[in-house]
């Protein structure tokens, strides 16, 4: 007989914890009411140990990675010594409760064995509506968190098995969609119940002490995996920057800066040099900033890297208080899980890419499309995310960028709906959903092209603009790769007049044709090194123009663009090289 902490048992228990977290996710998907959950999977189920350290988050979206521990530790602070079996907790606030932003509510259910608190089973999920200044949780006009919805400190939602009805009613009168919220909260409670009872079985099998030790070993394994991955990077300091071009109200440049210091198997992530917090809702909470860093680091390495709190033990993060990556109350923060999560992930990727160029990741285009809402003939409200206008992804050493993909903070975990489906759901006609020409950043690997998305919106509607990717290229290239094309948005009225709105804001407009040029992703590597056959294919496919093939890739085409003129191409590429050297030296 081996001891229960032998390597086989620890691995089996880790798989089992991951299975429990996924099991909670299947239950949530199956029993929740809102399409946010059962269609878009905007939630994460996770487990922590008794101290609130994340031990498994096998279910869920990348931008929730690792942030869940903050919530549990906040409730432990608030209720320490007063947590009883059959209590269940609820929270959301980014300033006092370890939340990331207000729409993501966390249900945390403690697991006791022999009067010892051994674990929590938790579910963090984006609610359909939580009150605040705009339906659907995103209020682009918010200047204080009070405009963004109801704030929940750590609350005891269920007290020794009894649901607090008065509190439940308080929640229900603070939403525009009480039926959805009621059903979804019950689904969250059900999912955590399943997780807690599966954890109880585990504790019954191994005993309290053994279980705690197994959890520690699992955290230690995560630690060893990440240190093994980090260990091969050269020691040094790596700096990357990012930018906003608005504060949601006016054009102003907001600077982000990260300095990565890698030493041995430790990595320090310092945001010093990042600008102060801003007026609009693109500030980040601390939990979200940590999550974005975790997601970026984990996704930089292997896909099967564990993602528990042990994995990130080697990281230390300094996010100065009062900056846009760690705002002071009462700054609004609802947009943070997208922006600046996208900027933070970019910077961490780019800094790590300097240390490990073969794994460098080009930038993903920031989204440019608005959310459109209106009222149908029966008087019900419809809310349409124009996902058909989503952006292209950046290239890597091994592949071109995805031409169109879900938001970077989900790493493509959200899928693009069919235009045919949207025509059945909303009063629209989709005219075009096609790849862009020359939208992808040139490179040895080309960036994703982005798309042209044209849609007739047939009735009056409210447009909530959050066009971070508009106007300036956002998918930057790496290792000599070029930036992807900038985003562009316009609205055309029946009389032919064209309107280009400010990238952020809320406006009500009559029937319009919405046209989006979705930003492209960045290229990887020197375009002059791209395989001529790949450039030829791109030209034949209409994704790269013959002019760009010549000017960006140094490819001369013959026979009406049907083949590569090898001799002319060699000459062109030879002639371009010295010029490139001068450019890169500058």
């Amino acid at each position: 007989m081996m001891s229960s902490c032998d390597p086989i048992t620890v691995a089996l228990v880790q798989n089992r914890l991951d299975h429990i977290a996924q099991h909670m996710g299947w239950v949530m998907t199956r029993t929740s009411r809102s399409p946010i959950f059962n269609q878009s999977h905007d939630f994460s189920c996770y487990l922590t140990n008794g101290e609130g350290l994340l031990i498994s988050q096998a279910d869920g979206i990348p931008i929730h990675t690792g942030g869940g521990g903050f919530a549990v530790r906040a409730l432990l602070d608030a209720f320490f010594g007063r947590i009883a079996p059959d209590d269940v907790f609820l929270l959301n606030d980014p300033y006092v409760a370890g939340g990331n932003h207000l729409p993501d509510w966390v249900i945390a259910r403690p697991v006791f064995a022999a009067d010892r608190l051994v674990a929590f089973a938790c579910n963090r999920a984006h609610q359909s509506d939580i009150g605040g200044g705009a339906a659907g949780t995103y209020n682009a006009k918010a200047t204080e968190i009070f405009h963004e919805g109801i704030r929940l400190p750590p609350l005891r939602l269920i007290e020794r098995g009894i649901l607090r009805e008065d509190l439940w009613q308080l929640l229900m009168i603070n939403t525009r969609c009480p039926d959805l919220l009621d059903g979804d909260l019950r689904a969250m409670l059900g999912a955590t119940q399943v997780g807690a009872s599966e954890l109880m079985k585990l504790v019954d099998e191994f005993g309290v002490e053994e279980t705690r030790e197994l959890f520690n070993q699992i955290l230690d394994h995560g630690d060893r995996r990440m240190r093994a991955a980090l260990g091969v990077l050269p020691d040094g300091t790596y700096v990357a920057e990012e930018r906003y071009h608005t504060d949601c109200f006016e054009e102003v440049e907001i600077r982000f800066k990260v300095t990565l210091t890698k030493s041995g198997t430790d990595l320090h992530v310092d945001f010093t040099g990042t600008d102060p917090q801003i007026r609009g809702f693109k500030n980040s909470s601390l939990a979200n900033t940590y999550s974005a860093v975790y997601a970026a680091v984990a996704s930089f390495f292997d896909a099967d890297m564990p993602r528990n709190e042990g994995t990130f033990r080697c990281l230390s993060i300094n996010a100065p208080k009062g900056t846009v990556v760690n705002a002071r109350s009462p700054a609004p923060v609802t947009m943070c899980t997208v922006f600046p999560a996208h900027e933070i992930m970019h910077m961490v990727w780019w800094a790590l890419g300097q240390a490990m160029p073969d794994r460098a990741l080009a930038g993903w285009g920031k989204n440019a499309f608005p959310v459109t809402a209106g009222t149908d003939a029966r008087g019900s409200t419809w809310v349409m995310y124009n996902w058909g206008g989503a952006s292209g992804a950046g290239a890597t050493a091994d592949r071109d960028g995805f031409n169109q993909i879900g938001p970077m903070v989900t790493l493509g975990g959200l899928s693009i709906p069919n235009a045919e489906t949207y025509e059945q759901l909303y009063p629209i006609r989709v005219l075009r959903h096609e790849l862009r020409v020359d939208g992808g950043g040139a490179g040895e690997r080309r960036g994703g092209t982005g798309v042209l998305f044209d849609v007739e919106i047939e009735t009056e509607a409210e447009y909530s603009f959050r066009g971070e990717g508009i106007g300036q290229p956002s998918g930057l290239g790496v290792r000599g790769g070029r930036e992807g094309g900038a985003g562009f948005l316009s609205l055309t009225a029946a009389d032919g007049s064209v309107y280009e709105p400010f990238p952020y804001g809320v406006e009500r407009l009559g029937a319009r044709r919405l046209s989006i040029q979705a930003p492209g992703g960045g290229g990887y590597g020197d375009p002059l090194k791209r395989d001529p056959a790949a450039v030829l294919r791109d030209v034949r496919d209409g994704l790269v123009s013959p002019e760009a093939a010549r000017s960006e890739y140094g490819i001369a085409l013959a026979n009406d663009s049907a083949s590569v003129d090898v001799a002319a191409t060699e000459a062109l590429r030879r002639a371009s090289e010295p010029e490139r050297r001068i450019v890169s030296a500058a």
Binding site: P7, A11, L12, H19, R30, N38, A393, G413, E420, T421
Partner: protein
């Protein structure tokens, strides 16, 4: 067609399933005898493997191939040719005619990434390059009415371009054409006039579903795999009929039913699960002997494990398949596959954790112990180290297991890095494999709203019976059932499949508003097509069954539940059936919710007489173990001297208490401590679990 039940003198059905390593042939005789022949698969020419198996079966009966095929009343085949054509990228050169503005749906793929964390892996190659995805102007609105006429001159121009590029098959998918096929039909008509030699795949006929991406990829996949697949199927049919087979053979489709070779038409896309989908026929066959319609099968072969749930005698269907990253809409058995089979590889990660799969060693080199040059330790290697599989020749010497090679692979790649003995490492590998199987079954049952405790777990595949008792115990299953012929599970199931054709049509209406006459009109159209086809296939009306179903949802939702309905339309009955399933799947209902119909479906069956259960002779003297050898039983019991039985020595009624191993012709059965195995009247093994 098949008249097995009445045939005199002796006649038989033959099923042939071509897997990655072995080609299985099962012959079920009208006398009740069942024979299995296993031969190595001929990868470059799969039909050769089939013909080898037939020759082997004929030889063992001492008759000619002509006699064997001449008295075969039903020849059923499951083929992986369509799937391999797709996965190996060896399909036809395809051109796509699409609507202006939507030529890129195929390449955008709705941005779906199965595992977002794996963002460095490229998509599979797009099957039609953009320069062969050519748009034509023309537009149908959201009711299917024409807004702009189809520009046929652009269709003609596309054909010109396809000609220049050597295109062999053309897919047509136009926007909103699931609502009306008028534009697609007009385009198809023109292409037939101009280029009658090009194979055509038209979206509204192949996959009449909403969603331009799914319809496009399905019609393209069909165009891609059909030419190669149909040519294989036809040449095999010629070889068989040329050798005496009297009626065309039938093929298993992804929906678990069969279709005659002559009626398959140009729709080889329906064959992508041909093979594993035959598991449904096996479940239908064994449920009789088991006496329950609540079954979960785990069919474990060399590379994967397929899980199928049968609830109250019904196996659910799904429309969307993912074949190696390519999506395809075709009615299919709801089958969940994980990368866990005999050839699945175990390794140790950079921080000292054991991992099993999903990578496998494939048919070649296969497990290290096969001696084909494999050095990675696999599940099979672990079974050999643990004494559950005996070294030496298998399948008439088609392969020879070498224990030294198994020990070496596990020793170097797992035991040494973990600081364990080879035996401890092998035991860990098996524990991890069985945990994967357990989790897979739990996942499928949780997602479908079933509790495994109500189910009998059935072992299938060559490797299934080694794991079933252990997994069944962990699941708290009612019992475990291990067919004697587990190793030919799907070939067996093929002999018990009905002919089946699925039809569907998008049709919207509120359940409380649609009229019976309206529905009848639409069902009648589908039924007329079905009856015509089944008649051609030789089924008299009393040998057919037409089953109707609705896809339903609560208003405003975007996911459907399929509910079978009777011929007489009773909205109240439909509502109750919907709510019952909805409650099981989602845990709640909306008492005042408006229910919407989104699709009607017709399942048309040509009924084939069910295969009678095998009969085993009752035990006279209980079979004794042929030998006893040390075997690692489980974590608690460790190594024990375990009795090894020969399956052929056991008779109905005999009881064996575990631990024990039974060597069978096509598999090896393992039961654990305290498990109680009874040989049932059909000669199969029923196991009730010990603790």
């Amino acid at each position: 067609m098949d008249s097995l039940a009445f045939a005199k003198p002796e006649s038989w059905r033959i099923g042939v399933d071509i897997g990655g390593t072995f080609t299985d042939l099962v012959l079920a005789s009208s006398t009740g005898a069942i024979e299995v022949h296993k031969v190595p698969t001929v990868t470059h020419d799969p039909s050769q493997g089939a013909l080898d198996a037939i020759a082997g079966a004929a030889a063992s009966r001492g008759m000619s191939v002509g006699d064997l095929l001449g008295r075969c009343t039903l020849f059923v085949h499951g083929t992986t040719v369509a799937t391999n054509t797709l996965l190996e990228g060896k399909g036809a050169r395809v051109g796509l005619v699409t609507s202006k503005g939507f030529r890129d749906a195929l390449e955008i793929r709705r941005g779906i990434r199965e595992n977002p964390w794996d963002h460095r892996t490229p998509y599979r190659p797009v099957l039609v390059p953009r320069y062969l995805r050519l748009p034509a102007a023309g537009r149908l609105d959201r009711q299917g009415k024409e807004i702009d006429p189809l520009d046929l001159s652009e269709v003609e121009a596309a054909i010109g371009a396809f000609r220049e590029e050597g295109v062999q098959a053309v897919a047509i998918c136009l926007f909103n054409s699931y609502l009306s096929g008028t534009h697609e039909a007009a385009a198809a008509e023109r292409i037939k006039e101009l280029a009658p030699d090009l194979m055509l795949s038209v979206s509204h006929a192949i996959a009449p579903v909403m969603g331009e991406y799914e319809r496009t990829t399905t019609s393209v996949l069909n165009a891609y795999v059909s030419p190669v697949t149909l040519s294989y199927v036809r040449s095999l049919n010629n070889a068989l009929t040329g050798n005496g087979l009297k009626s065309p053979f039938v093929l298993i489709q992804s929906n678990g039913g069969a279709v005659s070779v002559t009626e398959l038409g140009d729709t080889a896309v329906t064959l992508l699960l041909s093979g594993p989908a035959a598991g449904v026929g096996a479940l239908n066959y064994y449920r009789e002997a088991i006496g329950s319609g609540n079954l979960i099968s785990i069919e474990i072969g060399g590379t994967s494990c397929d899980v199928i749930i049968m609830n109250e005698g019904e196996v659910a269907a799904v429309d969307l398949l993912d074949i190696g990253g390519y999506k395809c809409v075709t009615p299919s058995v709801d089958l969940h596959t994980i990368g866990a089979g005999g050839g699945t590889i175990a390794r140790v990660d950079s921080a000292g954790f054991l991992q099993v799969g999903p990578e496998g060693a494939g048919a070649r080199p296969g497990p290290a112990c096969f001696g084909h040059g494999g050095t990675e330790p696999t599940i099979t290697d672990a079974q050999v180290v643990l004494g559950r599989l005996k070294p030496g020749p298998y399948a008439n010497g088609a392969l020879v297991i070498d224990k030294v090679l198994a020990e070496k692979a596990i020793g170097e790649k797992v035991a040494k890095p973990l600081g364990l003995t080879v035996e401890q490492a092998a035991a860990g590998i098996i524990q991890m494999m069985e945990q994967k199987l357990l989790h897979a079954v739990q996942r499928v049952s949780t997602e479908r709203g079933h509790n495994p405790e109500r189910f009998t777990l059935i072992a299938g595949g060559g490797a299934g019976p080694l794991h079933a008792a252990s997994v069944g115990r962990a699941l708290d299953c009612a019992q475990v059932y291990i067919p004697k012929l587990s190793g030919a599970f799907c070939a067996m199931g093929m002999l018990n499949a009905n002919i089946r054709h699925d039809y569907m049509r998008v049709l919207w209406g509120r359940l409380n508003e649609v009229t019976s006459a309206f529905l009848e009109e639409h069902f009648n159209v589908l039924e007329a097509r079905a009856v015509e086809l089944l008649t051609r296939e030789g089924f008299a009306p009393d040998k057919t069954a037409l089953r109707r179903a609705f896809d339903l949802r609560y208003l405003g939702q975007q996911w459907d539940v399929t509910i079978e309905v009777g011929k007489a339309f009773d909205p109240e009955l439909v509502r109750r059936a919907f709510e019952k399933d909805y409650e099981r799947l989602f845990g709640h209902t909306q008492p005042d919710g408006v229910i919407e119909i989104t699709k009607i479906r017709l399942i048309a069956l040509g009924l084939i007489a069910p295969l009678p259960s095998a009969r085993a002779d009752a035990v006279t003297a209980p079979g004794a173990p042929a030998e006893t050898r040390p075997v690692w039983v489980d974590q608690e019991s460790g190594w024990r001297d375990v009795p090894i039985y020969r399956g052929s020595s056991l008779g109905a009624g005999q009881v064996i208490v575990g631990p024990a191993i039974i060597d069978e012709q096509t598999t090896t059965v393992m039961i654990g401590c305290g498990d109680r195995l009874t040989v049932d009247p059909s000669g199969n093994y029923r196991v009730s679990m010990g603790q």
